[in-house]
Amino acid sequence: MHPAPSIILFSTLSGLGYGLAVMLGLGLLDPALVSTKTAHLLALVLITGGLLASTLHLGNPQRAWRALSQWRSSWLSREGVMAVATFVPLLASAWASLFHDMRLPLVGLLGAVMCAVTVYCTAMIYASLRAIQAWNTPLTPACYLLFSLAGGLVLVAMFATLGGSLSGWIALAGVSALTAAWTAKWAWWRRLRTMAPISTPASATGLGGIGAVRLFERPHVNENYLTREMGYKVARKHAAKLSLLATAAGGILPSLVLLAATISGTGIAIIFCTLAFAGFALGSLIERWLFFAQARHAVMNYYGG
């Protein structure tokens, strides 16, 4: 699948934003601190930026509001509805922190749950597509949710440090979430490597009974929408290296520096936590790029890919 930058940015940024919002909603930070207020704003900026990025790949973005109508059947529509609805508790929580130095526990909890549901809907857009076997697994929403959670904890660790104190258990929770996220991702990659394709040129043409089916000629000499959108293969060659790089930058590095930050002075800890976030962001972007670039679409059975 073609890794469109707008979609990669959308799911990475909104995943981080929702993860941070979950942690703020659960009350991990003191609402009166400037760092916490900044965290509220950053969460909203990440979520809004991600949603805006997602409209960049639309052919007719002026009609995007229509995407809120088909929540009964479409995961994309459900995600849109949830994203809009989730702004209500998130804005209320941010308002309470920014202007009243207080936390609304129930609103925060509701916001946290709605954030998780929104991330789940995002993942299900991909996981529900049987034509893309790599995505069509419960491991896909598991990865999206765990990455969002891990990103939220890494960000919260950073803001806790900025606020003056990083408690050991936030760092430990962060390391656990990072471990869980990358374990799920490696299980996802392992499934991708070992699965037998459900659709083959033989089943796509129905001619497997006669013999081995091989594409002889494409319909047209040049590329078309389908081959551009679904025939992306560049990553497969480097997938192993990139997945190691992503895990090192987004999993191992943040875990180590988070633990180091708990035993270092505030100044050093801020640097460590920022480094943890930078590493996680880079690793997530690589992971999300691979998510698209590695996935093979069933239609490629008709295009010899």
Partner: protein
């Protein structure tokens, strides 16, 4: 509404494509583009139409496959390998995932005849329906920014201003080899249902769970070239009748 019809459509209009007959001339591709670029919805645009990198929107494309049986080698040598031309357009699936994934309600399946259509005024061009289709039946038009797909020539088949013979999809009307058949696949006595029953019509990728309406007819078994060896020009063994006499006369001269 992008929920699929809850009642079974009384009619299931669709195509039956005969892979034994298709000669791969691409006439249906061109007639489809010609009819549909001026008919239902936005035109089927081309990008860089006169340049080196021409590309465009098509609702019907012909792929060509080589089928090599076990022990078969190169086409023509072993005699068993064969070329099959493979026309492909929307299959108007009963369980069409392209319909249910649509976030706007632009994509829908008609209750009266099962045709899957796009209401282009509602389409935001997100492309998710094209992703959901295992068959590659949907292509985004890059000029209009909306999703295009086979309409089963809905603006021909019910069009009473056309002569009755023309009230079939453009590809069916055009095919010079009669490889494409149109009819109601819900009616067991229709021409297409009889073809499917008699020739063993099959679904593409049944494992995708889409229950396509369109069916494909398999290529008929072919005689092995080796069994039908023709006498070589250098060899007159086995000549009969007039040629045996001529062979003898020429030998004696």
């Amino acid at each position: 509404m992008t929920l699929l019809p809850t009642t079974r459509p009384p009619k299931k209009l669709g195509l039956v494509i005969d892979l034994d007959v298709c000669v791969g001339c691409h006439a249906c591709v061109i007639s489809c583009k010609e009819w549909n670029t001026g008919g239902y919805g936005a035109a089927l645009s081309d990008q860089d139409p006169y340049g080196a990198d021409v590309t465009g929107t098509f609702l019907n494309r012909i792929h060509t496959f080589e089928i090599v049986p076990e022990g078969g080698e190169i086409v023509g040598e072993a005699g068993d390998a064969r070329i099959v031309h493979f026309p492909k357009s929307c299959l108007h699936c009963d369980d069409a995932p392209c319909v249910t994934v649509c976030p706007t309600g632009a994509s829908y399946k008609r209750e009266e005849d099962g045709i899957v259509l796009v209401d282009e005024d509602k389409c935001i061009g997100c492309g998710l329906c094209a992703w959901s289709c295992a068959y590659g039946a949907r292509e985004m038009d890059l000029a209009a920014g909306v999703m295009k797909k086979c309409t089963l020539c809905v603006d021909r088949i019910y069009n009473e201003t056309l002569a009755e013979v023309d009230r079939v999809p453009s590809c069916v009307r055009t095919c010079p080899a009669n490889a494409r058949h149109y009819g109601d696949l819900a009616d067991p006595s229709s021409n297409v249902s009889i073809l499917v029953a008699e020739r063993g019509g099959f679904d593409l990728m049944p494992e995708q769970g889409t229950r396509p309406v369109n069916k494909y007819l398999p290529p008929r078994p072919r005689d092995r070239l080796a069994d039908k060896a023709m006498p070589l020009a250098e060899n007159s063994d086995g000549a009969k009748g007039f040629f045996a006499w001529l062979d003898g006369v020429l030998d004696r001269i």
